[in-house]
Amino acid sequence: MLSNARPDLRFALKKLQSAPVSRRRFLIGATATATGLAVGFHSLPSGAAEGGTPAQSATPSPFASYIELSEEGVVTVLSSQFEMGQGSYHGLATLVVEELDCGWQAVSVVGASGNTQLYGNLMWGGVAQGTGGSTSIATSWTRYRTAAATMKAMLVAAAAEAWGVPADEIEAAEGRLVHTASGRAAGYGDFARPAAALPVPQEVTLKAPGAWSQIGNPEVKRYDRRAKTDGTQDFTLDVRLPGMLTAVMIHPPKFGATLKSFDASGAREMPGVVEVVEVSRGIAVVAEDTWSAIDASHAVTAEWDESAAEQRGSAEILAQYRELARQAPQALAREEGDALGTLAGAERVIEAEFEFPFLAHAALEPMNAVARMNEGGSLEVWGGHQIPDLYRFLASQIAEISPEQVRLHVLKTGGGFGRRAVGDGDVVVEAVEVAKALGWRAPVKVQWTRENDMRGGRYRPAYVHRLRAALGPDGKPLAWDNHIVGQSIVAGTPFAGLIRDGVDATSVEGASTLPYAIPNLRVGLTTTDVKVPVLWWRAVGSTHTAYATEVFIDELAEAAGADPVQYRLDLLADHPRHAAVLRLAAEKAGWGQALPEGRFHGVAVHESFASFVAQVAEVSMEGGQVRVHKVVCAVDCGIAVNPDTIKAQMEGGIGFGLGAILQEELTLTEGAVDQANYDSYRPLRLSQMPEVEVHIVESDASPTGVGEPGLPPIGPAVANAVAKASGRRIRVLPFEKGLNA
């Protein structure tokens, strides 16, 4: 996913903007809707009269709000953030319920889109609506609380006026307004319309932390949990429109191959098949139903021009990376002191090379999107739109209409992990192109099969890390040199602005930000040219940098004869939040105390996306296989908005990361992907899931993300335990391969 705290993104995405975003002033606004009251923020371009312009006169938008309240009292949160399971919708709803005091009974959340000024991600400089870098709560923290507090103030003001009582005597709770002295009471919905006619307060006071009843409450359960147990939760897979056709794609067998010709004569004769069309990304088999499309796709034969395609296998690619890792890096991401000189003159030098495979996101819901051209020339696109503004722009270009004529319906998705934030909008583009190829005569759903999804590219890039360290007489590192070799995720995409001075920040994050106090330090990068499409994969650069750095620091501690926790703490004097989570995890896990026979502890600590996580894994070796029994996790993510969601994300990050280090590997032979389904690409199974215990550090710092930061420490924590259990440092991933390497 996109990383946070990257103002560079504003340059990368600027071309999507129709108006400059800098120096923009935000005013809160409210409008009467067909059914009640909507509260959002209207923005004024820079230069508008300070305070003199009524909010209502700002540019109107048909979807311009954060919260809507109907006359029936139904509260709808319009989420700028995409829900892929991580709980963003629930987090935003929590912020709203807190400040609106509406209770949970009447709350729902829908995906919003179509207004960058309202929904642009503030952690990306507000330049585009999008979800990534574990920023959902951070970008929403002030916006949604302020919108909710404003709505409540207007409802109270409307009731005060109607009842002829002072506003400060009215209490608002659980969606009801009560004036005890006069015995008057009403539901919020009763005042939705009158409130919309009132002036909008431009200053509201948010609750002090001591007054919070929802934020930080571990008993608050996800608002959508029931729909996810009775089959009523809909995903893009479940979109059904009148007259809708379903298309299944045939993609090139190798990355970079192009279609020469195809024969669909047999497929066209099959029952249910409507048409077989060529689009920019391959062949689409269009049918009346999904199964007919899948079935007929096997009857299409195609010839591909592979002259420009990637022809190497993953083993050859990684062998080349190993060679490059021993040469000088192309660019430096960080340089302090003289690492090379110190290494050259050092008595004790420790070296290690790490190898990381390509990884697939392999979310349970295969990629899909639905496009429909309406009479009148407006286009609607349903899907798991992680970067709505980008996809709206891409869809409008294919349809040859303006972005304003495109409406995106942002649906919850069956797992994302970064896969649905794609610079070229892959499946969204396919849906619009197929609908266009059919002359816009019917709505079209493009539904990838598992095989399409597994072989469709967009993998976590393969990387090689070469690390060298010089130890001083006291065992502490005097020098550290880390050379990272691999593909850039952002090169050639709308996010290429993240590359500065030849360094893609997503390749080195977590390594260039090494927190340990080492006087001579160099982190270098060599970016490779490989035609395998790559993408952010839950925790992005930290998926490999945390592993390489935290296994290596453990190795240095071992060489120094030091305790791995104390060794780290001694180097973390300037990083108190790292040190605090490390101490907490170690204490809760009983670090240093006796474990059952054959069990071993390993530890790791890592910061990603401005959150700090330490984990202690308890591991044994059983029949040559690694068994992880328990993981104790400590997390500091600032203010904990939803403690139970934070725990769930730590648990999920640990499970997702554990599958990757134990057994996930996407390989290529002569350029073609070897895996096609979950039989050969194997995420973690239930029987492999350890017990997980999560401890949240109390904090009054601004909230940061949890969707990704739970993942990076699990690999090195387990590897460091395996080193104790087996005497072997696993430097080739996954473990299934590394244990035999």
Partner: protein, 152 residues
């Protein structure tokens, strides 16, 4: 064409006998709670009960269910299903939720056969149901919780 009992109601579906039951349920019967994940009986997202036994509907065909009793997540009822749902909700198991129809039907089948399952029983019964969000930790706890609810 097949005639069978679907969620307690005798139903005739006008579908090719070679069509996977998954797609017939979703697109002929309009029951979309059953999800497509792999098409190869590898992920369990499409789990339904066929005569009380959990099966992968992507590898079960319309022609196989003639005269049989099929239950999907929409029709899972009774004390065991209620206990499972109550436990899932109490422990806030779902994240994205996509695999949970299959997880719940697998859990209901397990608890119907084995009212007090061990961790090993749970591993054996649900290892075929992938959860990419890795809610496994809570699934295991929720099955134990549902077992306690049924005992009470």
């Amino acid at each position: 064409m097949a005639t069978f009992t679907l969620n307690g109601v005798e139903t005739t579906l006008d579908a090719d006998p070679n069509m996977p039951l998954l797609w017939a349920l979703r697109e002929k019967a309009g029951l979309t709670g059953t999800k497509f994940g792999c098409g190869l009986a590898q992920c369990g997202a499409c789990t339904v009960h066929l005569d009380g036994v959990p099966v992968r509907s992507c590898q079960t065909f319309v022609g196989d269910v003639e005269g049989a009793e099929v239950v999907t997540v929409e029709g899972a009822e009774g004390p065991v299903a209620e206990a499972v749902r109550a436990a899932w909700v109490a422990l806030d198991v779902p994240q994205c939720g996509y695999c949970q129809s299959g997880q719940i039907l697998a859990a209901v089948a397990l608890l119907s056969e084995t009212p007090k399952p061990s961790d090993a029983d749970i591993d054996g019964a649900l290892d075929g149901n992938l959860c990419r969000c890795a809610t496994y930790h809570r699934i295991r706890a929720a099955i134990h919780d549902a077992a306690s609810r049924l005992e009470a």
